[in-house]
């Protein structure tokens, strides 16, 4: 009997990896069922449940909040999103990060004084070195 190798991964961790006989996924154009030997396919996923039918006949369900589905004849990969994604949500997140930057870096000069920067770093490095030297001396 033909098998499918199924990997469900998100950016943060691996969710499922194993053999299956059939996979159902909520593709953006409607639910798809994938049997072994399916033609290669890449599609976006809508939020919903990915169901994996194991050899034992048991069925396992995994909720995905969207992502991508990649199908090769004997390999199915679900790249699950780790968060609810939508264009306007992403836009809001970007706006927030930009506002945060403007709040903190408001009225700062866009030109970096490399000399000052290096002086500050050198100071920090010198402090560390001094501590190390002191420690060596103490050990002797």
């Amino acid at each position: 009997m033909a098998h499918l190798h199924v990997d469900i991964v998100s950016a943060e961790h691996e969710i499922f990896s194993g053999e299956a006989v059939m996979v159902f996924a909520p593709a953006s154009q409607g639910e798809v069922g994938i049997a072994p030997g399916h033609t290669p396919l890449v599609t976006q996923l809508a939020p919903g449940e990915v169901r994996v039918q194991l050899e034992s006949g048991e069925e396992q369900g995994f909720y995905v909040s969207g992502g991508m589905l990649e199908v090769q004849p004997h390999v199915v990969t679900v790249l699950s999103d780790s968060a609810e994604r939508a264009e306007d949500l992403d836009e809001a997140a970007a706006l927030k990060a930009r506002e945060e930057a403007e709040r903190v870096f408001h009225d700062k000069d866009a030109k970096i004084e490399y000399a000052t920067a290096r002086a500050q770093l050198a100071e920090a490095a010198a402090q560390l070195q001094a501590i190390q030297r002191l420690r060596k001396r103490a050990k002797r």
Binding site: S10, V42, T43, E70, L128, A138
Partner: protein, 287 residues
């Protein structure tokens, strides 16, 4: 017994400090292991996407996504700086900033503009003092950041690239070599280096839903997000490792200090007893 009380209280205060640094060392060690696990867990996702992208690039040589195409003229560079949120981690951040400044200055000498995106409050503080053009920033992620927290900051830079405000995107962060060594690395994010794989010699193609371009757009965005996420998690592992080492040496130093103080205390005590004895003896002799 002059000073004995002062020495005793000093010893106990150093002991308290040592307790704290020891606790911090152990906390850092366990957090480091967890961060390392997360580093490993994040890898399959990026690998899988890289495979699909390589495949797509191979199957559709005529379609060039802007993220995959190097620009002829590079006038402006985007740089994501990943630093820690907290201190007490040795020279980790200052090493990172030194390397960052070295690269930035080299770019500036080539006449390229630099636009920054800052992750972590240490870098925010540093570049807040120095200035520099900052497009976005993210602080206070804690020890277990999620990809969802990074979406906004990454999107700013991707948008800037698409609008032509930046022509290349780099990320600088600490590379976790092992628990004793962390080194700052600069990595190129855009243009994405397509993976060269000889095994993609066959000529089949995917069916794309809704269409190839849209799929590739989403995939590349997710791919870059996952790369940034990996760097952030790796930086946290580096932070914890550096803190562990720093706290270990702080505990060792406290131990040494306690030994020294103990010696001084014992000497002072002995001197006091000797003095008292000689006073009694001389007192008895006088009677």
């Amino acid at each position: 017994m002059a000073g004995a009380k002062e020495i005793r209280s000093k010893i106990s205060s150093v002991k308290n400090t040592q307790k704290i640094t020891k606790a911090m060392e152990m906390v850092a060690a366990s957090k480091m292991r967890k961060a390392q696990d997360r580093m490993k867990a994040a890898r399959p996702y990026a690998d899988k996407i890289r495979n699909v992208i390589a495949h797509l690039g191979h199957a559709n040589p005529e379609y060039h996504h802007p993220f995959l195409t190097p620009r002829a003229e590079v006038k402006s560079i985007g740089l994501i700086i990943v630093s820690t949120d907290r201190g007490l981690c040795g020279g980790l951040n200052s090493n990172l900033f030194r390397e960052t400044l070295r690269r930035m200055q080299a770019w500036e000498e080539e006449g390229k503009e630099i636009k920054l995106c800052i992750i972590g409050s240490k870098a925010a503080g540093f570049f807040g003092r120095l200035g520099g053009e900052v497009l976005g920033q993210l602080t206070g992620m804690g020890d277990t950041p999620g990809v969802d927290e990074l979406i906004g900051t990454v999107k700013i830079m991707l948008d800037a690239y698409i609008k032509g405000e930046i022509d290349e995107l780099y990320i600088v962060s600490n590379d976790f070599v092992n628990s004793m060594t962390q080194s700052p690395v600069v990595e190129e994010l855009i243009p994405v280096e397509p993976e060269q794989q000889d095994e993609y010699k066959h000529h089949w193609d995917y069916i794309y839903e809704p269409d190839a371009q849209e799929v590739l757009d989403v995939l590349l965005e997710r791919y870059i997000e996952s790369l940034v996420y990996q760097r952030v998690v790796e930086n946290i592992a580096s932070e914890q490792a550096a803190r562990m080492v720093a706290m270990k040496s702080a505990s060792d130093n406290a131990g040494q200090l306690i030994d020294e103080l103990q010696l001084i205390y014992n000497k002072a005590r002995q001197a006091a007893i000797t003095q008292e004895l000689s006073e009694i003896v001389s007192g008895a002799a006088a009677v």
